[in-house]
Symmetry: C2
Subunit: 254 residues, 2 copies
DNA sequence: TAGTGGTCTAGACCACATG
DNA sequence: ATGTGGTCTAGACCACTAC
């Protein structure tokens, strides 16, 4: 073979054309588009490396590098001998993928869920801004309580774009076994890819204290999470208050 | 070429021999040993991929994969056209690598440091256990205060194994400009590679409140960090209390 | 111009999963 | 036995850095 890279899209060069990207980056983008478009659903397998190589007219190694990065980003999961699969929040066995709360020695994880409320309303200004909604657009607010062995641990307020979550009701939520994000995937086609959290220490107000069964003024962990789907589109704003008496938030630095 | 993998160490098979590991994993381990042994110091460049390939008698691609992983782990840094360098806590320009504290809109990062104390004493039981010291072994305790624009934000208690940090004094610390971890690297040859943090919300006690200039009982973020060097050896236990009025702890999930 | 890391290819063989 | 991902090689060329 004489020359190497043959861009999938010819130059075309419209206006402020960004510099050329490596072939495997282009492949990566194409794969993301297919994921986004629902060509392969969560949990399903994508075509084999050789098939994709044939489809895109590149070598297996190039497809491989693209898939490697998508796997590192958590969008795909490789399983030797079986294939490559679309990552899902289902079957994140043992641990809920985004939940960093770990029980203290002797305690147990907060797995009991109780949905307190689920209503549609117009997004408050700050929520609208964060979720990139037009002001006054509809939003869904879910309030729920997570407990461990009967003791409440987390009080969550979850804001979702109304347009994406049309039929979300208390019944749907309470009837669901398994991670909430799995419901979002299967029922609403919204896959959470990554998220950013901002953590602060705050004092429990009267209402919160009641829900969490602590004294007003008790220090709580405030965890504000913005979750994004493909294309970094924000699709969930979650405000959690954690009682860290029997649990802690764990993090790894490198 | 007929066959591919030729393990660097012949089978030898002593007792409960672990399964063979891929060549690039073995290379990776060898590189870590060289880093650990100080063959290449932080900030220096390591030999080129071709040199290493020759040294280890493997192809460039195999060395490359080993280096890729070490770079992903944050042990090495690649610079196109220049070479591959040993990562360092110096020149982590702008942001201190492990510090996740971010100023709120309008506030500024906590860059002013004040060393309150630095003393050698026998490690308390819990510290000794965490740092894997023999009970009663010497430890160094550093207490310091980080401030932003004159307002205290973080109160840190830092425990270090006495054996590794022999000449650490208040003068050395206060005289040092730049990240503390950089001092540890250059003066004591201890490189922090990764760390785990446990985060809780706690109420300020009287003494802490005074240092942080808040009312007693104010909710604070308790951040307990265990830092490790090569071989996952624990070398620092840091207990920080953060005032999150003007700052927050940021985290990314994926 | 020479040296470095970065991309790409083509083909071999290995390890694992399944029928 | 076949198909999948995982490892390894050898060699080409590109992009960036330095002298």
């Amino acid at each position: 073979m004489s020359s190497a890279a043959q861009p999938i899209e010819p130059p075309a060069d419209a206006g402020a054309a960004p510099a050329f990207s490596p072939l495997y980056q282009q492949i990566k983008a194409l794969l993301v588009r297919s994921l986004q478009g629902g060509e392969w659903k969560p949990g399903e397998s994508i075509p084999s490396e050789l098939e994709l190589a044939a489809r895109f007219k590149v070598s297996q190694g190039t497809v491989r590098k693209a898939i490697d990065e998508l796997a590192a980003d958590g969008l795909l999961v490789r399983k030797q001998g079986k294939g490559t699969f679309v990552a899902t929040h289902a079957e994140e066995h043992v641990q809920y993928r985004f939940l960093r709360l770990t029980p203290e020695e002797g305690a147990s994880p907060p797995v009991e869920r109780r949905v307190l409320d689920c209503r549609r309303l117009r997004a408050p200004a700050d929520v609208a801004r964060t979720l990139e909604l037009k002001s006054g657009e509809a939003a869904v607010l879910v309030r729920r309580l997570l407990s461990a062995q009967g003791k409440p641990v987390v009080l969550d307020d979850i804001w979702l774009p109304g347009a994406l979550f049309k039929g979300l009701t208390v019944e749907k939520l309470t009837g669901w076994r398994g991670p909430m994000y799995e419901l979002f995937e299967s029922e609403f086609g919204v896959r959470m890819i990554r998220a950013e959290e901002q953590i602060r220490a705050v004092a429990a107000d009267a209402a919160t204290a009641q829900w969490l069964e602590v004294a007003a003024g008790t220090p709580l962990l405030s965890v504000e999470r913005l979750s994004r789907t493909y294309g970094d589109k924000p699709v969930e704003l979650r405000r959690g208050l954690y009682n860290t008496a029997q649990h802690h938030y764990r993090n790894e630095l490198s």
